[in-house]
Symmetry: C2
Subunit: 288 residues, 2 copies
């Protein structure tokens, strides 16, 4: 962690990448990738969200979400101009946010509507503000090979006709919700919508749908990008834990937005899906 700043002057601009790190394993994987490439980086870890092991042996500063000024000062001192957002961010209440002076100024610029906006609108506003401060915000999936889901199957299991029908119904439900900036995922079985994910997270969705399943098998988890979702900050994400939870819920498979979702630990996801008998399919908007 750098010592106390005695000046706010920026260091010379470098190619160093600033990682704004939330929860989960994606930030750590990004760090490992940049290390492998010997690419310089600096981590802004979000307090209470970033995994401590992500920060082990790295140049970093942990800040509150509301401590925007502190974060921007540190990034400028480090000569960072390129930013990447990685990992999950739990949205704080106003009370938790405790905005610093810079954050307050930025909030004022965004206007009070931001507090009633959905995540997408909020995150897009954040990107705009950072660009106004001279930073570029880059897509994590451009730096991390294999992160972005493609079209078609991962692994060897396949969706049957019933699963395809469930996927189509899930897509219809998520598309109805997407313009309202709600609906991270949905579980459908035998045409019946067993659950819709709001802010509780996919794990919680999968944990509750198991007992709601009907006899007769099947069932799919569908995750799609919302129309306004900013692919530079936040896309629907699945990983090994998602596949395991879907299996535990008795589902037949998972469908994600090809080009609009992230697969964390692709090789491990494939191995897990093969072992547990689930299909994992990237679906394109045109195909469903």
């Amino acid at each position: 962690m750098p010592g106390p700043a005695t000046t706010h002057e920026a260091a010379p601009v470098t190619d160093k990448i600033g990682i704004v790190a939330g929860g989960g394993t994606v930030p750590g994987q990004l760090v490992a990738t940049l290390r492998d490439r010997s690419h310089p980086y600096f981590i802004i870890g979000l307090e209470g969200q970033v995994q401590p092991e992500t920060l082990d042996g790295t140049p970093h500063l942990v800040v509150r979400l509301g401590a925007v000024g502190t974060a921007l000062d540190a990034l400028r001192r480090e000569g960072v101009r390129r930013l990447v957002f990685a990992g999950s961010v739990r949205r704080p209440s106003l009370a938790e946010l405790r905005p610093d002076w810079t954050a307050t100024r930025l909030i004022a610029k965004m206007g009070p509507k931001m507090f009633l906006a959905g995540d997408d609108a909020l995150l897009s506003a954040v990107v705009k503000v950072l660009e106004g401060e001279g930073f570029t915000v880059e897509r994590a999936d451009r730096l991390l090979d294999g992160l972005l889901a493609g079209a078609g199957y991962l692994g060897r299991h396949r969706a049957d006709a019933a699963a395809e029908a469930d996927i189509a119904r899930g897509v219809a439900i998520l598309r109805a919700l997407g313009p309202l900036d709600v609906g991270q995922g949905v579980v459908v079985q035998q045409g019946l919508c067993l659950g819709i994910e709001a802010i509780e997270g996919t794990d919680a969705l999968l944990a509750r749908v198991g007992p709601l399943r009907r006899d007769g098998g099947g069932g799919v988890l569908v995750k799609l990008r919302k129309p306004g979702q900013n692919e530079r900050i936040d896309l629907p994400t699945i990983g090994v834990a998602t596949v395991e939870a879907a299996a535990k819920a008795g589902l037949a498979g998972i469908a994600v937005d090809a080009g609009g979702a992230w697969i964390v630990d692709r090789a491990a996801v494939i191995e897990t899906a093969n072992r547990l008998g689930l299909f994992v399919k990237g679906i394109s908007g045109d195909a469903v």
Copy 2:
């Protein structure tokens, strides 16, 4: 319970009301009301769903959902032509349904699409079939005073501006889902959608949103009739347990569809809401 039927001939048609009784307390209240009025009735209790105390001391027959022929025979024997649906019905899997010969014939008439249809389409098909069999299906809220929600407040607490904004967002979300025959309810706090109800029930929705709430208070449960929801069989319903669960989740109040939702135990709902500090508001489609 009547003895074994030796003939399928119908008794003379009477004014007797046939109550198709699912779970919850509404069927019992309907029975009590008809008793008070000395109106003849006969209960078809849905196996595994009707509360045993609903049937205490009543003329009734308990049948599986799939035993349609058995139920219709009993109703005809009793001279019943007027039917009322009351109480919650958990949708069975095909395996659980075990349709009898009559049910199979009716299912064939409805076509295979019914298994992929949402609840509304399915229930409307059931009503149509019953009408084809010579029965009329009447609204429970026409027999049970105070069951149907009206516009305006129940009890003395009022929605503030933040709650009104949350109600409006909840209405927008439910309206987007309604045409897809999904979305029984939604919880919104500070503009953030904390949860959407699929088939898990309002109690489960309320149980999970408590820990998802942000500091700063507020939050509303909104329940609206879906566009295709058949008011003769099934409307969104709240009762004392709903108010208690909403209070436990820390919400400020509940908004329901005026003219499109049922208030079970109205007096007790008002007393509970007053005591726990929640508003309960009937909202009309035009007002939001």
